[in-house]
Amino acid sequence: MDAKQDESAGKLQSARSLKALMMTNSPQSNTNLYDHLTLLLMKVMDEHPHDAVDVIEDISHDVKLTFSEDKQNLLRDLPETTAAELLAEQQRLLFSRPEEDEQEEQLMETLHPNVREVGFYLEQAGVGLGREEMQRIFLALKQLVESQALLGCRLWGKILGTESSYIVAEAQYIEGEEEKNSEEVAEEEEEREAENEMDPLPRSTYKLLPAVPKEALGTGANTFVYYVCKEPGHSWVKLPSVSPAQITVARLIYKFFTGRLDSPVVSYPPFPGNEANYLRAQIARISAGTQVSPRGFFRAREEEGDEDEVVQDSIEVNPDFEGIPVSEMASFSNWVHHVQHILQQGRCTWVNLAAKSGEDSNEEGEAEEKEEPDEPEPEVGPRLLDSLSKDSEMFNIPPWTFKVSSTLTFQHAVAVQRSNLWPGAYAYACGKKFENIYVGWGLKYAGEGYSPPVPPLPQTQYPQMTEALDPSLEEEQVLEEALEEQRAVQKQMEDLDDEDEEDDDD
């Protein structure tokens, strides 16, 4: 009995849902199937045709005609523009070619790289964004060079985000560009507010640790300037330069990018900046860790400086580079980094933060040989043009994987290095040409699990506090009586002394 009841309940449920489907109004004619069938059956009941089943379509058509004559829609809906159409309008501009520049183009040097060729080699390596997309990116880079009057730019790669992605272009820094320091403006505002108060609140004497100074534009981690855009055809946005504090915090956090440059980065430790700064910091870390080239492509400039320190500016393209055969490119020693490594401090060149306090002590006339016990040791990292074989292994996996683009036609193959620490970073070399690209989520391989940094322990209490119990009422009374007695005795003693003195005087 129960099974039958369940079955009939189930049938009733499906009947109800079918009825609900039939009662939904069609958007075009504003009637529904249920009403239409009702009217149809009523007409059949009224008219009693002999062969209803054969002419049912005509009856149905008649019913529709009688009820839809008044309901003709004279208003037409505007066709909605889809997102694809909007984007197509913007991308059409990429393909437009100004007529005046025909002669100039022949004289102009190629300031932007041949992205089509790069795309071809990357495709051989199994990396890429699709041919049409690479072509659009190529045209967008050309638009960037023209609009910003850059000396040259390069496709750095693509960083994926949860809502949309960023296409990143790397450009040479042009001297003379000054950056607006928004931090200084904020400090001035605070000072003004403090002066306006009538009763100044007590100021704390806590001094923050001196922040590691930013590297100047054109040196170190800020050697290149980066531009991002969401889709080729949209306008390019310049990313701000990176500060060492941002790099040190970016090393500790592990967050996806959302795709909006102004969204806040909520994390612990708190990231000093918004997503644009986080993006720039990750780009700096990825460049420092994975931009490699075949040995000999770059060489150190012959200058009078120290031979030990090879700074970013002092490498140049080697005109005598002859290319290394593919079989030899398998060994790590034939690839070198050509971007400086970022030290623990967050900069490429080390800065001694204790140097300022050292100046004060010198003014006091102390000997220069005095060694402060807290003096930090200068940080040393891998030098520029160091080979990949010196890259440290993390999590017991080699930092790079070598692949050849084709095993069947070895002579014309492309040698590819794939990074295991930064999944998505690739470098290829074929004859005299090489290129680096990054396409990925912008995050380093975190091993088996990422453990977020723990907040610091709570501070201990001030140590020199002495504690004592408050005396009770009886104890206080006893003490007071004792004190009074003592005073009385003392007074007696003084009186006696006075009398003795008087006697003596006599």
């Binding site: 109800r16 909007l86 984007l87 964004l129 699709g130 992605s165 967050k255 999944p423 989520w441």
Partner: protein, 273 residues
Amino acid sequence: MDCSSSCCSLDLVAGNGCTLSVEHRAALQTSMVLLKKNYKFQRVLLWGKIFGLNRDYFIAQGRGEDEMLDKKNLYSFNCMDWFLLPSATDSMVEDASIAAKRRFIGDPSFVYERLEMSEGQGGAAEGEATVSEERRLAATVHQIDEDASVVPRGAFVKSPRGLVHVNRSFAGLSHSEAKKLDSFRHFRKAKNPNKKSIEEMGDLSPAIDFLDTLSDDIPEGSWSLQRECAGNVCVLRSLLWLGLTFYHLPMTPQHGYIYIGDGTKNLNLPFML
């Protein structure tokens, strides 16, 4: 991704940065046809590629009459010679998740070992879990299919006999439907039959809506829905298994998914969102 359309579809999923080189594509076109003939599959799909430290695995999947139950996975190193993977069992999946947490090596006979210290009532007991890379590969492919395989709503129908097959009259999702995560379904046995109101049930049809929706996934936000290729293609990326990409061209029946990546689950997802 269907091998017959792989030549143009690989460009649509290339937003991830990973494609296949021309040599591999040509080899796949030839070998897939042979696979279909030898194993008598109804359809052969290019499932994806798993990176290993020394060599990469190419995975293909053959489907039989019932698309959900009759699945066989094969792997290859050069897209020509294919080897059958064992079907994954629960114990295999469990062993693989304990023993092997690093990257794939690239050698199917490599054995992962892990000693697990578990404290029982009588003191510390050691449990040893060993799994070969081949079984780990099978377990990973099975897990990814369970967690992250995506199909648009209406692409597959369940016949009254219970068999699942391709819906020949699927005309594609409309542009507005393709923007919502609700219109995409997991391609696996339904796990969460959420009770819905009668009005909502009116829209659903038991032949089409027998799968779980993506919007019911925990944690929320583990799928990224975007438009790529000049806004023409709707692309879904999984953030739980980084590397899985699903594509669909609205108003056309073209859809498919492919996994190109490490083969490791992104357990850090809650920190990253």
